[in-house]
């Protein structure tokens, strides 16, 4: 008999058992009456011999039950009743648990975003950040060091440098300050980003004099009105005209 059938036939089985035991007792009484015992005495004697019918039915029916699941269900109901009776204690418990869960969720959300989540590039496991430390001060790398690393290091497929910077651009009629990044020309190629529109920097655009080229992030392009004419045209950045190209939608 499969478990599903067992569940749905429980009630039916219990009824069968109760009915069967009732008929058993009835037959026992009839037999005693036939042997000459008065009906009232026969009923009394049969019931005494038979014992507690409810208890027998319960014990017989226990065989079909799942003690673990039913025990768990009983515990849950008991706990619910107790909690309902002591409302103050319940409120304190629920509040404590809520704060605990909330705090943990907040901490781990930040942890995940800053430490655990993979970078949004095609092969994030192959990306590393390198910095130099000079007299205890770390974080920045000189241009010459970068050039040396690029020339002499064979451990990396590509090296790219970047630094945060702010730019003034003309957004419509207004001048706006935009926080962006100054990068080497192979920046997007190294990260493996795909382009939404336009193109990547050309290698020669990393050279002095040819570097008046900007790539707009998708977010900035939308901020400037999602104008497709911006791509490949010039926009004023820090007072000078730059060719603008559009990059991928992620960053």
């Amino acid at each position: 008999m499969n478990w599903f059938k067992r569940i749905i036939t429980h009630r039916h089985m219990y009824d069968d058992l109760a009915e069967e035991m009732r008929l058993h007792l009835e037959e026992k009484i009839e037999q005693l009456v036939e042997s000459g015992v008065s009906r009232s005495k026969a009923e009394f004697q049969a019931k005494c011999e038979f014992g507690n019918a409810t208890l027998i039915a319960e014990r017989s029916f226990e065989i079909w039950r799942w003690p673990t699941i039913e025990g768990l269900w009983r515990d849950i109901r008991h706990a619910t009743r107790r909690l309902r009776k002591s409302a103050g204690f319940t409120v304190v418990c629920v509040f404590t648990i809520a704060i605990g869960i909330g705090a943990n969720t907040a901490i781990f959300t930040v942890d995940y975003a800053t430490l655990l989540a993979p970078l949004p590039y095609p092969q994030p496991d192959r990306l590393v950040a390198i910095s130099s430390r000079v007299k205890g001060n770390g974080g920045l790398v000189s241009e010459k060091d970068f050039a040396d690393w690029k020339r002499e290091s064979h451990a990396f497929q590509a090296l790219t440098a970047f630094k945060g910077a702010s730019f003034n651009i003309a957004g419509g009629d207004q001048l706006e300050t935009i926080f962006g990044t100054q990068v080497t020309s192979n920046y997007y190629g190294t990260l493996g980003s795909s382009f939404f529109m336009g193109r990547d920097f050309l290698p020669e655009e990393g050279q002095e004099g040819k570097n008046h080229v900007v790539i707009l992030t998708h977010q900035l392009w939308q901020h400037l009105g999602s104008d497709p004419n911006l791509v490949g045209h010039t926009i004023p950045v820090d007072g000078a005209l730059h060719s603008s190209w559009l990059t991928c939608s992620r960053d």
Binding site: L17, R59, E62
Partner: protein
């Protein structure tokens, strides 16, 4: 399991074994003892193998066949029958008896017969072992 019997003066081997092997569990009177585990199932299956019958008839049958030595309590019979229904050693169906009574008739199944034969074999081996020990003890 609660098959109980009253003490009599018969001291056959089967009877002696029950007295010595079984812990005293019940007690309607100090002279009543429980059988060893599996004994009731074995007797029920053997009875049903001869003829399908209902609960009351089983009690009467075992009582008669044992010359009134064994009295099956209803409190033991129904849990045992439910256990065997679950194990699918027996199956039950509602019928109307010859005396025009609504009864739930139990029938032994093929796996019940197999189980019975296995249990009887084990019981006979055990009995043989106990007999040997007792006969050595006497000599």
């Amino acid at each position: 399991m609660r098959v109980v019997y009253g003490l009599t003066s018969h001291h056959n081997l089967f009877y002696s074994m029950l007295v010595s092997a079984m812990p005293i569990m019940s007690p309607k009177s100090p002279h009543q003892r429980d059988l060893f585990p599996g004994a009731l199932e074995m007797m029920i299956l053997q009875s049903l193998r001869r003829q399908p019958m209902h609960g009351y008839a089983l009690v009467q049958h075992i009582k008669q066949q044992s010359n009134d030595l064994l009295q099956v309590e209803e409190g033991s019979l129904y849990p045992a029958l439910q256990r065997m229904l679950k194990e699918e050693f027996v199956k039950a169906e509602w019928k109307v008896s010859e005396t025009n009574r609504k009864v739930r008739i139990y029938k032994i199944t093929a796996s019940g017969i197999k189980h019975l034969e296995h249990e009887v074999f084990r019981f006979e081996r055990m009995l043989e072992g106990i007999s040997l020990v007792l006969s050595h003890a006497k000599s």
